[in-house]
Symmetry: C2
Subunit: 139 residues, 2 copies
DNA sequence: TTGCATGCAAATTTTTTGCAGCCAG
DNA sequence: CTGGCTGCAAAAAATTTGCATGCAA
């Protein structure tokens, strides 16, 4: 996704297209994997001089706008990635926290059934399948 | 699960059966849903005078021992519950954080396929399906 | 007796907030 | 111009750690 497309995403969400917001979003998009706030801070605060509060606030507004997906992976801090609208299927190492994405296996039917069974929810936004284990390298 | 069974769990994991460890585990078991550290602290520190460090250390050791399952639900803090060995399927409200468990729909086949596709993992420990939305009450 | 477990206090890590000034629309 | 955005600093929330003492096995 290029700068122009990212700008449009922000714009269409009704948010202001500021330099910093665009930089935060670009950095997440460029990562092509769930990136931690710490990693973003390394990239943006140090190299582009963006305050950490601004990073957090932008991650939050972009998340609320449905542009970013947030996921906590049982390691005490959150990860952000572009919201594709599709489910994410990932395997996470409990030791080194490496994340492997798995494509090509759908769980949509099962999810649909679950939502139909639900008493408290009528429709849902998204879902993720998180598989936990210990990776070959750590073993 | 009664006290005796919980004791056995701890024992078989090779951990010492201390009064506090048993109380922490009992409180989680009694909750019958993923409980936050904050809720546990309310129960245990105030009523039974257990230090928060002890609560955290016990949650951690019980988790490492495979007795407790930890899950972060994108709200910035973790939840603990008894590890059943079975996958958890839950729908979480992005606003009020209410959790609804869904039983009776299996995703095991899909998970198996995913692990087979994986390059970095040979076998895995557990998995969870988390569906996010906004519940009827919040809507 | 021996080493894991605990309390206490302090430190770390992660995230949020108040407020004055700045800038996109 | 005006309200959202930002930096700065401080606070709050979540979790971890050091060390002396306690207690399970």
């Amino acid at each position: 996704m290029n700068k122009e497309e990212l700008k449009n995403l922000i714009n269409e969400a009704g948010l202001r297209v500021t330099l910093h917001r665009l930089r935060v979003l670009s950095a997440v998009a460029k990562a092509k994997k769930p990136i931690t706030v710490y990693e973003l801070t390394e990239l943006l605060r140090k190299k582009e001089n963006i305050d950490q509060a601004t990073i957090y606030r932008n991650l939050s507004s972009l998340h609320l706008a449905g542009i970013l997906r947030r996921s906590d992976l049982n390691h005490g801090h959150s990860h952000y990635e572009l919201e594709t609208g599709k489910a994410t299927h990932q395997i996470i190492c409990n030791k080194c926290e490496i994340i492997e994405r798995i494509e090509g296996v759908s769980t949509d039917n099962a999810i649909l059934k679950m939502v139909q069974k639900s008493k408290k929810f009528k429709n849902v936004i998204t879902h993720s399948v998180e598989i936990f284990g210990v990776c070959k390298s750590c073993n």
